[in-house]
């Protein structure tokens, strides 16, 4: 017979999902070495008794004949059902004082922030209102100034054109053309 080894054949042919589907463990297909490998790879299912009746009885048969596997299963089941209490789950004596220190520091910071903001608001509120009022007056004043600087009608294009007509040199082509147009309008021609 072969000694048990983790590379032994047999385990690969097993259903890898025994928790959901149940495990069919057949001794005729699986040697004792494969059974050992199988048991090592399904310790939780065995500990929680999740295996089907047939598989469970097959495993039980193997455990009866293999004291090493029986010892491993027993030990694992004990460890699984009674996980070790953590060595140091009791907080240190300074746990609560540290917590209170932290809370007080946080509250001091928050109240400090609140205090500064309150004082700032009390001082700045009338100043802000006055600034808004003065700003309104200044803006109105500036807008009034801007109305006065609107260019007079003389500066418009039509008046500029008339001015340029008045300055036409006499005897020039432009002067002849303007005189002719005027004559037409007056019906002289």
């Amino acid at each position: 017979m072969l000694p048990c080894s983790r590379t032994s054949v047999g385990a690969a042919s097993f259903d890898p999902n025994p928790v959901s589907k149940g495990v069919e463990m057949k001794k005729d297909k699986l040697g004792a070495d494969g059974a050992c490998v199988f048991i090592r790879s399904h310790l939780i299912s065995i500990a929680e008794k999740d295996l089907t009746g047939a598989a469970f009885s097959s495993i039980q048969d193997h455990l009866d004949s293999c004291p090493e596997c029986a010892s491993l299963v027993q030990q694992f089941t004990r460890a699984w059902e009674n996980p070790a209490p953590l060595a140091d789950t009791q907080p240190s004596p300074a746990f609560f004082p540290r917590l209170i220190e932290r809370i007080e520091a946080e509250e001091e910071l928050r109240s400090g922030r609140r205090g500064v903001l309150a004082i700032a608001w009390r001082v700045l509120k009338p100043a802000a209102l006055a600034a808004i009022f003065l700003g309104g007056i200044f803006a109105g004043h500036e807008m009034g100034k801007r109305d006065k600087t609107v260019p007079p009608p003389a500066a418009s294009f039509a008046y500029q054109l008339l001015d340029s007509l008045e300055s036409i040199p006499p005897g020039s082509v432009a002067d002849f053309y303007v005189n002719r147009q005027n004559s037409k309008k007056e019906g002289l021609e």
Binding site: P3, R6, C36, L43, L86, L99, E106
Partner: protein, 197 residues
């Protein structure tokens, strides 16, 4: 004084009530943090964060679940954030010796050497192996398995703590156990080595 009354007093800044609440829950919160954190030495700091959060948020608690569930939820979230942040920066995220990372990288499983391997595994060593294997699970599976197996919470309570459905808890726990079995199998020595059948 019940937890609800305690929380109402805490919301009114009653430090005496807060001390009662801390005394009532600190061992359980610290134990949960120790199990959930990759490095249990940070458990007390994270537990401090948990109670600090409880104090700050006591006024906004809606009383739609039990106080203990709410505190556990804060603890689980804090631990997951802590693990995630420290893994991201690679400071304390490494796994205990002998375990693989979730992506399969890292050192393999190391079994103790000896003439008689079976005798080398004491009950405490088996517990330690289980603890390390659980620590190497993905965060969500680890949290649910610890809450169920080590802290004794029901599926319904875990669903409330984790903010998921009961079916999701069942499915996640099932996957966690399969993962754990895969991780545990190579961790045990060939107990039958040399045995003649």
């Amino acid at each position: 004084m019940d937890d609800g009354e305690l929380l109402r007093r805490i919301a009114a800044k009653d430090l005496g009530a807060f001390k009662i609440l801390v005394d009532r829950f600190q061992s359980r919160v610290l134990g949960l943090c120790s199990r959930l954190l990759s490095h249990p030495q940070n458990a007390e700091d994270v537990a401090q964060d948990v109670f600090f959060q409880v104090y700050k948020s006591s006024g906004t608690f809606r009383h739609d679940c039990r106080i203990s569930t709410w505190i556990y939820r804060i603890a689980v979230n804090r631990c997951r954030n802590f693990n995630r942040d420290n893994r991201k920066f690679g400071r304390w995220g490494e796994l205990p010796r002998g375990l693989e990372n979730e992506d399969g990288s890292g050192p393999g499983v190391v079994a103790p050497d000896g003439d008689d391997p079976a005798s080398a595994w004491s009950l405490n060593e088996t517990r330690e192996l289980i603890r390390k294997a659980v620590a190497s699970l993905p965060e969500k599976q680890k949290a649910m398995l610890i809450l169920n197996k080590f802290e004794g919470h029901s599926y319904q309570e875990i669903a409330e703590i984790m903010g998921v459905s009961v079916a999701s808890v069942e499915s996640c726990l099932h996957r966690a156990k399969l993962n754990l079995q895969e991780k545990l199998a190579p961790m045990f020595p060939d107990v039958c080595r040399g045995r003649k059948f």
